[in-house]
Amino acid sequence: MANTAHADHAHDHHDHKPHGLKRWLYATNHKDIGTMYLVFACIMFFGGGAMALVIRAELFQPGLQFVDPSFFNSMTTMHALLMIFGGVMPAWTGLANWMVPMQVGAPDMALPRLNNFSFWLLPFAFTLLLGTLFVPGGAPAGGWTLYPPLVLQGGDSFPFTIFAIHLMGISSILGAINVVVTILNMRAPGMGLLQMPLFCWTWLITAYLLIAVMPVLAGAVTMLLTDHFFGTTFFTASGGGDPVMFQHIFWFFGHPEVYILILPAFGVVSEIIPTFSRKPLFGYESMVYATASIAFLSFIVWAHHMFTVGMPLAGQLFFMLSTMLIAIPTGVKVFNWCATMWKGSISFETPMLFALAFLFLFTIGGFSGLMLAIAPADFQYHDTYFVVAHFHYVLVPGAVFSIMAGVYYWLPKWCGRMYNERLGKAHFWLSVIGVNVLFFPQHFLGLAGMPRRIPDYSTQFADWNMVSSIGAFIFGFSQLLFVAAIWNAVRSGEKAPQRPWEGATGLDWELPTPAPYHSWETPPAANILPKPGH
């Protein structure tokens, strides 16, 4: 360690990188850790994507073709867990690692070693989880929502699932603490909170949600564990408990969790749309307040996932109305993005295309959410493919598209090279067509009554399932173009200028390209700080 400790001082002055495996294992640099998060997320996206293709292959036709029902159920469960906890969440943390210090004018994250710890917990967590594919009884198959009593009937995979979730939870709590502390304590001198780019704002609020609800999930799964192994009866009526209680605790976590997945996307889109419209963001402050109100409301809407469990009428009314309230701040955001483009001189590079697709398609997901929020209607839609269509619209063209938009947008700053615009556009068009062919028909299937999480179905659903599966394969394989575009850029892309997008503002674009190993070694000068309310 002696030589590295010496380098500690040298770091302050030079672009001195540690070498070899140690650079990654012992990393403390926000960019290295951010890269590891993003690569990890990418691997998980492909793993979870492969599972999704197993599901869609089985559903291509009615009847059982490829897998047996219990494996099918494992696939739906594992797909969701991988995509949520292994894909989207780490991808956002990776982007936060890269961008937050650069955007607030800091040299690194506030707690760099903790940062490395948060990352390295993840591969181990997913080793536990993926290991269940090989234990007796197979991988967990009771759904990512882990409802008892079903989940308690799992085989040997059960404790692995619980402890994997514990590790993921520790990882995200520590990661979130780091983001909060970086934003609150490491901002450049003179930079007020309302001078921060929206990506920092949305992540600040996301991190708060994470710290508030990940421990609740930990509590919930711990109760499952003791119910299974140690004779507690939290979720067993004969002992005075109630399985529905699990659903309440789970969704108290679960609904804020879906905002954890989407709020950073709002941030990314709020950076990209102004840049490519060459206009400042319309209604910056209202964006901040809208994000905060969404976060607040997300704590009091959870039982919209449970309208059919037999809640008292007053409960159904309350949760129906509070859920609908969320549409107001969400609408504020959508209108602000539209107003930002109004009379802008818009150009359509790949990041902007993805951001625009986000705007249209996320809004569709929001509307189907509103339909689901109507309690009497939800009695019909609940547990059908309509719900599947809803959450995939908000998650795939919502969260995942904006992750990809962010990667295309910032890649030149990260590696100093441009991606190939034709490759990017090809990726975009195939993705956007694929995703709609994949998920739009699922609305029809759901409205017609096709249940979710079922490997076989009645022949009346055959046509749209086939269409949906074709879309799935188009979408899935077109993601290889994403990898190709990144690979190509990093290896042989054109050299990028300091500000590759003429309309881009913010401290991240004031740094040289590629960004230096330690972002802001000395605080940025006051005259380059963003103006308040931009």
Binding site: A2, P18, F124, V135, N185, I211, T232
Partner: protein, 297 residues
């Protein structure tokens, strides 16, 4: 750990720590610990792996904190780092609060909703008419099936104004002693600091000891176990996680005491002390919640 350049880290300069093997070591140890637990629960080689993992985790805490304390003593951290540590600790405690909130939520849900419903209240009157004819809504309860260790399904509870009240007094007193110690630290009165800090962790361990006695009483004589229905579940999970936190807190206090005995901390800079003090107040407040809602009302 060459730190000859430590003095260069003035407050006007950012500080970025050098790389460290502790995070990856920590991930491996937590993984081993949890793999061991899984194996144990699945009746495999778990206990050995678990114990190995546990030892590794202990090593993690000792090793990592040692590095941080050492660097701190050498003056490598500026006020900004100090502030980051403070904020980090605050938010960590907030996450702990939410962890307990889940279990308190379960308690309130059982008492306010699931048990009354099982007793046929409100719209759930058919529970009473058809399912559980001789189950009445009451607390404490181990449910309609009267699950628990005794054959007749009976069990007794620990009255609030016995040992629990004494334990409340102990924790409140320890809250006072640590505050006195803190003031002494700020005024540079080291011997008062040392004595009151020692008193604090001794009170902490006394609490844990009494709690252990209470548990063994419950298990051997009262028919009150983790498996005694919803009462036993909420009782032991809440007090158990709290007891674990007190134990950890008391160990942290002990470490801080050893450090003050070695002359660590100055009246101006003593984040480690304060972090532990905050943590201690946090377990104190949780206990008050437990005393009121688990033992008393």
């Amino acid at each position: 750990m060459a730190t000859t350049h430590a003095s260069h880290h003035h407050d006007d300069k950012y500080y970025v720590p050098h790389d460290s093997h502790w995070p990856i070591y920590g991930s491996v140890s937590l993984f081993t610990l949890m793999l061991g637990l899984c194996g144990w629960l699945n009746e495999w080689y778990g206990p050995y792996v678990f114990v190995a993992g546990l030892l590794m985790v202990v090593g993690l805490f000792v090793g990592w904190f040692n590095v941080v304390i050492g660097e701190n003593q050498k003056g490598m951290y500026n006020t900004q780092v100090d502030q980051s540590f403070r904020m980090g600790m605050m938010w960590f405690i907030f996450s702990e609060v939410m962890f307990f909130a889940a279990f308190f939520g379960a308690l309130f849900y059982a008492r306010q909703l699931s048990v009354p419903w099982l007793g046929g209240e409100g719209a759930k009157m058919f529970n009473k008419l058809l399912l559980y004819k001789d189950f009445d809504n009451a607390w404490p309860t181990n449910g309609p099936a009267r699950v628990g260790p005794r054959d007749d399904g009976s069990f007794e509870v620990i009255p609030a104004f016995g040992l629990p009240a004494i334990n409340t007094a102990i924790l409140l007193l320890s809250g006072v002693t640590i505050t006195i110690a803190h003031h002494a630290l700020k005024e540079g009165k080291r011997s008062i600091l040392n004595i009151f800090l020692a008193a604090t962790f001794l009170l902490g361990f006394l609490f844990v000891y009494l709690q252990a006695k209470e548990y063994s009483h419950a298990y051997t004589e009262l028919g009150l176990k983790l498996s005694t229905g919803i009462y036993g579940s909420t009782f032991f999970m809440l007090t158990g996680f709290h007891g674990m936190h007190v134990t950890l807190g008391a160990i942290m206090l002990l470490v801080i005491w050893l450090r003050t005995m070695n002359g660590h901390f100055t009246p101006q800079r003593h984040f480690g002390f304060e972090a532990v003090a905050w943590y201690w107040h946090f377990v104190d407040v949780v206990w008050l919640g437990l005393f009121v809602f688990v033992y008393w009302v």
